[in-house]
């Protein structure tokens, strides 16, 4: 079983050298830009930019293959269902109708629908590389301090740190409990009926949760004994000081973010780019 959550790999690239805080800020700015804009030109630009960053941070395809498959499946199903549910949604959005072909009943192919679905596909796709870069180049140890750095309360940030710390333990424990239960006579193989399988998986979840409750007691005792929550704030051992490289990255991200907003406000006068009028 995979023990580390993210296959964070230490290579010396520009992206890796950035502090976790910088990466989080850039990630958020670019993600918000993408979420806000519905202009395919802007989206393609951000997608290209993030793919370029993916390249220079030396992430190997092997590391992200699984995610790419998952995302592809998601995008394709989403596109199909969206079309089935609302084949004329693009027409509503853009206010014109250029039919290319009629299929059946209310289903026909229009330029507007194609354009809308294309834009949406790119919109979804362009956040993925950003997330991947952030996850695979950030040292998990810096994660919590970065969250704290962007204004998340330190207690909530530390909860995230605890999640990262204990996920491998929880995962291993789930595995061990499932074996211990099988050794006492529980049937878990896929042969059994869905209902029984569900009931049996509860037999594992319950001990997992109850042993976790005990552990919560223990860990919070250990943390209290070492003064957690004493002050209004806290410092972080793994926090890094910002360098010129960090400033550059932030400036570029802010620029892209402002650019996106500016395009919407001054060029399109809306979140949507409408080539049909």
């Amino acid at each position: 079983m995979k023990m580390k959550l993210f296959s964070y790999n230490l290579v010396d690239t520009y992206v890796h050298r950035l502090s976790g805080l910088t990466k989080l800020i850039c990630f958020l700015l670019l993600t918000f830009a993408v979420m806000f804009s519905y202009d395919i030109r802007v989206l393609i630009f951000v997608l290209a930019f993030s793919l370029w960053i993916l390249r220079i941070s030396l992430i190997k395809y092997k590391q992200i293959r699984l995610m790419v498959i998952y995302v592809a499946v998601f995008l394709i199903t989403n596109a199909i269902i969206a079309y089935l549910f609302a084949p004329e949604y693009g027409v509503d959005l853009y206010g014109t109708r250029h039919e290319l072909a009629h299929i059946l009943g209310r289903y026909s192919i229009t330029q507007e629908q194609m354009f809308y679905q294309m834009t949406k596909l790119i919109k979804y796709a362009s956040v993925i590389p950003l997330g991947i870069i952030f996850l695979l180049t950030t040292n998990p140890s810096e994660f919590a301090s970065s969250l704290n750095g962007v204004g998340v309360h330190y207690k909530a940030a530390f909860a995230v740190e605890l999640t990262l710390r204990y996920f491998p333990d929880v995962q291993r424990e789930y595995h061990d409990i499932s074996q211990a239960q099988q050794a006492r006579g529980l049937e878990l193989s896929s042969k059994t009926k869905l209902g029984t399988r569900f009931k049996n998986s509860l037999q594992i979840i319950i001990p997992l949760i109850f042993s976790t409750l005990d552990r919560i007691e223990l860990i919070s005792n250990a943390m209290d004994l070492r003064g957690f929550g004493k002050q209004k704030k806290r410092t972080w051992y793994n926090q890094r000081r910002l360098t010129k490289e960090d400033v550059l990255a932030i400036v570029v991200s802010v620029a892209i973010f402002l650019f996106t907003i500016a395009v919407s406000v001054f060029v399109n006068h809306s979140r949507f780019y409408n080539p049909f009028i």
């Binding site: 995610m67 999640t163 109850f210």
Partner: protein, 185 residues
Amino acid sequence: MKDMFKVSTRTIVATGLGAAIFMLLFMYVKVPSPVPETSFQTAYGLGAFFATLFGPIAGALIAFIGHALSDAVQYGSPWWSWVIASGVAGFIYGFAYKSTSVEEGTFETKDIIRFNVIQIVGNLIAWVIVAPVLDILIYAEPVSLVFTQGIIAAIMNSISAGVIGTLLLIAYAKTRTKEGSLTKN
């Protein structure tokens, strides 16, 4: 009611570990449903249980962190609209904290009903209002699609929280001991 939002070290630890289990269940212990992009998530049962024991803040953070991280691991990036909706659901589940007497070792019909009303309200608000609205705002998804998805999610997560959450709470109530009740015999 007054310390509903109090955050102690125990709340934080419960949040961190709860989110870890939430992630595990969210990724590995789910039953696919016939409707695409939805599945029967055991994780919400766990979320409702933890929220009832540790309050709204823990409930919200557990679902938010757990959902965000498992999206990140699987898809490379969190799906913010649904992640936020998860957080809202967890937050509302948390109102069962203090309004049930599970910590005192009883979880009977009255408490079961109260817990379930709260979790169903939470699921309705999260999946029939918050998630679709965010989907429309952020991704401009078709209205009919997102509401249909939302209603299905609300039903399935209510069943998950209702069945698993209730069972967990009953089991938990049994482990609670009353004052001065332990003697060796």
